[in-house]
């Protein structure tokens, strides 16, 4: 197997929000970035329109489709020669009173937030083992750590990811594959856009740093965890929440 010209990262759900910021920051830091989403990725489209540099790859994939994920990972291998890092970012938020939640919404949440991430890790880890190293970051949530009303299933999927992270870190550490999760608190995103002014004020009041996070701050933490600067960090959940859970 030939050495790739660039380190290669797969980012799930890279079309908007946190995923788009992670894609852009990885690209700016020299990574070759492969991402998928159900909707087009504006940053990649704009970069390609301006000539591109051959380091971006996007496909329309629904992460709940395991065969489509398998084809995507194979295509990334053909394009870039392998995968050095995976950032499992894609997730959906189905919120509301748990006793009233539709079964389809429960199934969707588990399929998108937990199963798809596990399947994607299953697809990239054999090659990481063969190459002798890699890094995986699972995007979790402070809701995996603290109980909050209306997010029971979402919290369960994210806590599941944290457990997956620790077990995988122990299993794959001997092959130099690091596995961490990142638990963002409240940051400016679609996820908080549905909150009322009163709810937002209460969150800011309860946050020692006195503000919401920015998407760039959260993305930077994810990029840090796959970088050489984090080479002795594995099995860890990095909480980045302005202190709201401390």
């Amino acid at each position: 197997m030939t050495e790739p010209a660039h380190r290669v990262v797969v980012v799930s759900g890279g079309s908007r929000g946190l995923g788009a910021a992670i894609v852009r920051q990885c690209h700016e830091q020299g990574w070759a970035v492969a991402t998928f989403s159900r909707s087009p990725a504006p940053y990649i489209e704009a970069t390609e329109r301006n000539g591109g540099d051959g380091r971006l790859f996007w496909r329309a994939v629904d992460g709940r489709d395991s065969t489509a994920l398998q084809d995507f990972v194979a295509a990334v291998g053909d394009r870039f020669g392998g995968v050095d890092a995976l950032i499992n970012n894609a997730s959906i938020g189905k919120f509301g009173a748990f006793p009233l939640m539709r079964l389809a919404d429960i199934d969707d949440s588990i399929a998108a937030n937990l199963r798809a991430n596990i399947v994607l890790a299953r697809l990239v880890t054999p090659a990481m083992v063969a190459r002798g190293g890699g890094a995986i970051v699972n995007i979790s949530s402070v809701n995996a750590i603290r109980g909050n009303t209306g997010v029971a299933v979402y919290s369960a999927t994210k806590a599941g990811l944290d457990g997956f992270t620790r077990a995988l870190a122990r299993e794959l550490g001997p092959r130099n594959i690091r596995v961490n999760s990142l638990a963002p608190g409240y940051f400016e995103s679609d996820m908080v856009s549905g909150l009322t002014e009163t709810q937002l004020r209460r969150i800011v009041r309860g946050t020692p740093l006195g503000r919401l996070g920015s998407v760039e701050e959260i993305a930077a933490a994810a990029v840090f965890l796959i970088s050489p600067a984090a080479h002795f960090i594995t099995g860890h959940t990095l909480v980045i929440d302005g202190g709201i859970t401390c």
Binding site: S66, L123, P126, V129, A130, L172
Partner: protein, 91 residues
């Protein structure tokens, strides 16, 4: 890399060569193997098998263990060859 649909003999050769490559990369002594050799006796750990599957994925373009076959059903080198033969035969 095999571009056309490989024959049974090519599949077997790819499996044997990949086992040798993985053992060599792991710094372990290659042993004489045949289809009856148990994988444990060959010296392959579970993570060696993961590496083996990745390399065979690039060489044979299939991964029988993603959706079709349980790795726990594979006990010998011959079982491994059969898993790839069955998968490729279905394509």
């Amino acid at each position: 890399m095999l571009m056309d649909k490989p024959t049974s003999a090519q599949i077997e050769a790819a499996v044997y060569k990949t086992i040798a490559d993985v053992l060599e990369r792991a710094g372990r002594q290659a042993v004489a193997i045949d289809n009856d050799s148990p994988l444990v006796a060959v010296g392959l750990t579970s993570l060696d098998l993961a590496a083996l599957i990745a390399v065979l994925r690039s060489r044979l373009k299939v991964d029988p263990f993603f959706a079709k076959t349980a790795i726990t059903d594979i006990r010998t080198v011959g079982d491994l060859c059969r898993a790839y033969r069955d998968m490729i035969g279905e394509d």
